[in-house]
């Protein structure tokens, strides 16, 4: 078994990613070996690592879950026989003749696994989620069934919030502009875009977004999730359409596709060969049963995958969609602002024309420190959505101060405020991401994803370590996100670090020390790859330093 093989776009030798098909088969995403890129730079850009789980670790992980399930049954038995008190809520007596609202096997996992470690999620904060934040302390009096706030809080370094460019700020020009918009328009809107909820500020936001992305027009919505779930149906309505969707696509994309009542096919994550195969098959065979030709085919992908830290191989997808006549829907929730020399997202990262992507979608939640989402593209597309989107017709428009936050931050990124502060943020984020990831790799953690991704997933595998990792780092004043089953495959529990331009190198150094320490104690440095020396911090931060000098 080729342990530690790296999946790279350029991997021309078939053995390079042979590990994907290894007996353990735990890795769901194979990165097919694809077209040879001649360009060295591109080769480097598509460098993505998904080191497979070491066999022993996999066995122990399964064993861990097995124990938890056994204990779960045992405790369920104890609860049933009244030895252990039950803390879960029960339904009113009046409802006892009704069909139960939940089935007991549904709640088995929540009751016996999630509850034990629920303190690792939903931690309340009581400050702005910038580079550092105040996390409220909670305690449980009943074995983690209920968590009570103690009233105290802990100042932690924030590696959990999606604050890529550091615009989560409670002072400065963006906040001031938002306050002004609040004065002018109020907080709510109380109407839809098509009725009386079309504010001047919404139009300004859309003009700015279109300009920022370099496309003809854009339309914006109050929620990123709803941008997907309420607009895909307006594009792929009716019978005879086919949606090809990446297996790791976000829930909102899956929901949007499902609401179309069309055929949905799922392809392997970021696997261009699989897409091509499915696309060819679909066109050749036509619709199921009738074999009539498809009316249109839409490929749905994301820019950066937030659980993997992988970056979409956009040039390949564009080549394919052009070759076969499919349409491409690109969700840039995590990549807009965070990738590219000037923050224009994954199109700029690969140097492709944004107009080659039919539907550019993204959210304002992450890089812009606001909320909501946009769809951008041709005038014709946007006109259609203005008229037929579920959201413009039925949902309340975006709050004005939130819209203003996006406008202000976008202008800073574009340098329209007359400074290079936006540029500096972009460079700082890139340097932070690179530095942080490389140091983790150097320490021997198994780190997933692309070198340029600001999302850095570190594999934890074992269920007990999920909680231990999160709690230990919390004790050392670091707030991290850990994710396990069912949000990831069973054996691929992980911690996910989100870098931000607001982080300083000193902060990251402190955090890295803490992580290394916890990693040693929990034996998390699983990597079997030969150790790689990290690029020096000076090199990582050289661009930032030179830019900062200029300022």
């Amino acid at each position: 078994m080729v342990l530690g093989g790296e999946n790279t776009l350029s991997g021309s030798a078939p053995t390079a990613n042979g590990h994907v098909k290894e007996s353990n088969g735990f890795i769901p995403h194979s990165n097919g070996h694809v077209p040879q890129y001649k360009d060295d730079k591109i080769k480097k850009m598509s460098q993505e690592s998904f080191e497979p789980v070491p066999l022993l670790v996999a066995c122990l992980t399964y064993l861990g879950y097995g124990m938890l399930v056994l204990f779960g049954y045992f405790r369920d038995f104890l609860r049933k026989s009244g030895v252990e008190t039950t803390h879960s809520t029960i339904e009113r007596k009046k409802m006892k003749d009704f069909v139960p609202l939940y089935q007991s096997f549904e709640s088995f996992y929540t009751r016996n696994l999630y509850t034990r470690i629920r303190d690792c999620w939903n931690r309340p904060i009581c400050s702005v989620p910038s580079a550092e934040f105040d996390v409220s302390e909670r305690v449980s009096d009943d074995g983690n069934w209920h968590l009570r706030l103690t009233g105290k809080s802990r100042r932690c370094v924030n590696l959990g919030s999606y604050n890529y460019l550091g615009f989560a700020e409670n002072k400065g020009p963006c906040a001031d502009a938002a306050a002004e918009a609040l004065q002018q328009y109020g907080a709510g809107v109380c109407s839809t875009r098509q009725e009386l909820g079309n504010y001047r500020i919404h139009e300004e936001l859309e003009e700015t977004t279109a300009r920022f992305l370099g496309v003809e027009d854009a339309v914006t919505f109050g929620m990123g999730f709803a941008t997907n779930s309420m607009n895909i149906p307006a594009l792929m309505g009716g019978k005879g359409c086919l949606i090809l969707s990446d297996e790791l696509n976000h829930a909102s994309l899956v929901l949007g596709a499902r609401l179309c009542s069309t055929v949905i096919k799922v392809f392997k994550h970021n696997d261009i060969e699989d897409v091509e195969r499915k696309l060819r098959e679909a066109i050749i065979n036509g619709q199921p049963r009738t074999h009539r030709a498809w009316r249109k085919i839409l490929i749905i992908v994301e820019g950066i995958y937030s659980m993997e830290g992988s970056i979409i191989k956009l040039p390949d997808f564009i080549r394919l969609k052009k070759k076969y006549g499919a349409y491409l829907y690109l969700d840039e929730a995590h990549s807009v602002g965070a990738l590219g020399e000037t923050g224009r997202g994954v199109t700029e990262y690969w140097g492709v024309d944004p107009r080659d992507v039919d539907i550019m979608m993204g959210t304002f939640t992450k890089s812009f420190g606001a909320a909501g989402g946009y769809i951008a593209g041709s005038k014709r597309l946007i006109n259609h959505l203005r008229a037929y989107s579920h959201s413009t017709t039925y949902a309340c428009s975006m709050s004005a101060p939130v819209a203003q936050q996006v406008i202000s931050s976008m202008k800073i990124i574009m340098g329209e405020d007359g400074t290079n502060r936006g540029q500096l943020r972009i460079k700082q984020l890139a340097a932070n991401s690179k530095y942080f990831r490389q140091r983790l790799v150097e320490m021997g953690f198994i780190v997933y994803g692309n070198d340029d991704s600001p999302i850095v997933p570190v594999l934890l595998y074992m269920p007990a370590k999920i909680a231990a990792f999160s709690r230990e780092l919390y004790q050392q004043n670091v707030g991290v996100v850990v994710v396990g089953f069912p949000a990831t495959p069973l054996v691929e529990s992980r911690a996910r670090f989100c870098l931000s331009a607001a982080h300083t190198r000193e902060m990251l150094d402190k955090v890295l020390d803490a992580i290394s320490d916890v990693g040693d104690r929990l034996q998390l440095k699983y990597s079997l790859n030969s150790p790689v020396k990290a690029v020096s911090a000076e090199e990582c931060y050289s661009q930032v330093d030179s830019l900062a000098h200029k300022a």
Binding site: G186, G188, L255, G325, A326
Partner: protein, 474 residues
């Protein structure tokens, strides 16, 4: 984040494991034999359902080359109203500046005048300078801010329920809540006049949907009886089929009120759970604005789930569900719009909190609102050529044509009326629907919204303008 298919998988696995443990031994032996037999069949080669057509490479390439997709989207008609929206500059309070002209506002759903309230703005402003704008994460991942917990507490206390859960978007509230409970195989009895968000929630749930006639409890009972008959035939299936009734407190599309007491009676008789979407009735009906339950004096415990958005009476953004913890808490791991989306910007949460506090302090406001609704309803009813649809105490009224002709023509007439009223200083809007996608498109109408700050003079003025315009256009 992982696809929600992954979320669904464990339950099936668990189910399989359980089924396996419970199965008797002979059963397992037979199944194993069956499997061996099937595998044998598969490998016996003689068996082939259908000769597959084998295309040559050339034929395949031709098919690929020949395929021409439809355009991604058709051209939108140049005169579609959405392409020429009215532009609001400034606050949409009782007065609103539309396309540069100041109008009396009868279009935005700002029933309690909370939009434009100084106290709310001040509170939101303070929150903005404490928390920033966005929350930068879903509730699970550091997107829970203390003000969210505070608002959830307040909402639960206000509605006198055990728990409330916040969503960041009004539409997503009920649309996420429904599929959290009702799954494939379950049955939902839904009012055919239900709003679009409910329809989309139902579609996402993949449950069987049975529509009953709008606000017709007899029709509902008839359908429930039919279902009960079917259940008798197949008691095994009936024992695992959850049943729900979905209604609105005040119907957004009709302005009438659900006959709740009768519905609660049916609930216990036929064992169906009641979900109410109360966006237009929360902060409107009842002595304390608690909604349709308070209006009828029905104990709120008899309702399984209440959902409302905070984009009307509370004049903020987002929505909430409330009810027993047993029910509501489930959404914290299963409400898609809750789990997989960034939480509500803290300042908007604070704005809603403050609006709720004002409601608490001024319980008289609801009676005032209803009085205004009744005035306006009476006045509008007297306009020749138009018909008012909705209860007199509903802050949403639909002005329809008394003598309708074709849908397109009627819409055009109403559209013209709105424009003309606007010229004369009264802002109105036609209720917009996606006609192709609605389960049942309501008749074309002007949706009039009542603001508690309307004076008698305002109402007289508005009525005079609408009467004039109606005379001119109709």
């Amino acid at each position: 984040m992982a696809v929600e298919d992954v979320m669904v998988e464990p339950w099936y696995m668990m189910q399989m494991v359980q089924a396996f443990l419970q199965a008797p031994v002979y059963h397992i032996v037979i199944e194993v034999l069956l499997i061996v037999w099937i595998i044998g069949l598969l490998f016996s080669k003689s068996y082939r359902i259908q000769e597959r057509v084998q295309l040559t490479e050339k034929e395949k390439e031709d098919l690929l080359a020949e395929w021409k997709p439809e355009p991604l989207v058709p051209d939108t008609p140049e005169d579609h109203p959405a392409l020429h929206p009215r532009v609001v500059s400034g606050k949409a309070g009782l007065k609103v500046v539309v396309d540069g002209k100041e109008c009396l506002n009868l279009a935005t759903l700002n029933f309690l005048g909370m939009l434009g309230n100084k106290r709310i703005e001040k509170a939101a402003n303070t929150a903005l300078y404490k928390y920033g704008v966005g929350s930068c994460g879903p509730r699970g991942f550091y997107g829970t801010v203390d003000v969210h917990l505070d608002l959830e507490d307040k909402l639960a206390k206000y509605t006198r329920t055990e728990e409330a859960i916040l969503y960041a978007y009004g539409f997503a509230t009920i649309a996420s809540a429904i599929p959290a409970y009702s799954k494939r195989g379950d049955i939902v009895f839904c009012d055919e006049g239900a709003c679009f968000a409910i329809q989309k929630g139902l579609l996402a749930s993949r449950s069987k949907v049975v529509y009953f006639k709008h606000n017709d409890m007899e029709d509902l009972e008839r359908l429930l009886k039919e279902q009960a008959k079917d259940d008798k035939k197949n008691p095994k299936k009936a024992a695992v089929t959850r049943r729900f009734v979905l209604v609105e407190g005040i119907y957004m599309n009709y302005g009438d009120i659900v006959p709740l007491p009768k519905l609660v009676e049916l609930k216990y008789k036929y064992k169906v759970r009641i979900f109410i979407e109360e966006s237009a009735s929360f902060g409107v009906l009842g002595d304390n604005g608690r909604g349709v339950t308070e209006h009828f004096g029905v104990p709120i415990e008899d309702i399984d789930l209440i959902s409302a958005n905070m984009e009307m009476s509370l004049a903020s953004i987002g929505g909430f569900c409330c009810g027993d913890s047993f029910v509501i808490d489930h959404q914290r791991l299963s409400g898609q719009g809750y789990c997989f989306s960034a939480s509500l910007p803290p300042m908007l949460s604070v704005a809603a909190s403050e609006a709720l506090r004002i409601m608490e302090e001024k319980p008289g406001i609801f009676e005032e609102l209803r009085t205004r609704c009744q005035w306006l309803h009476a006045k509008l009813s007297s306009i020749p050529g138009l018909k008012v649809c909705g209860e007199p105490i509903s802050p949403i009224m639909h002005l329809q044509l008394a003598a309708p002709s074709s849908r397109a023509e009627d819409t055009k007439k109403l559209e013209t009326m709105c424009n003309e009223c606007m010229n004369q200083g009264v802002a109105l809007t036609v209720a917009r629907y996606l006609e192709q996608e609605e389960h049942l498109v309501p008749p074309p109408s002007i949706r009039v919204a009542v603001n508690v700050e309307l004076t008698e003079d305002d109402i007289d003025h508005a009525t005079a303008v609408i009467t004039n315009v109606a005379k001119m256009v109709l």
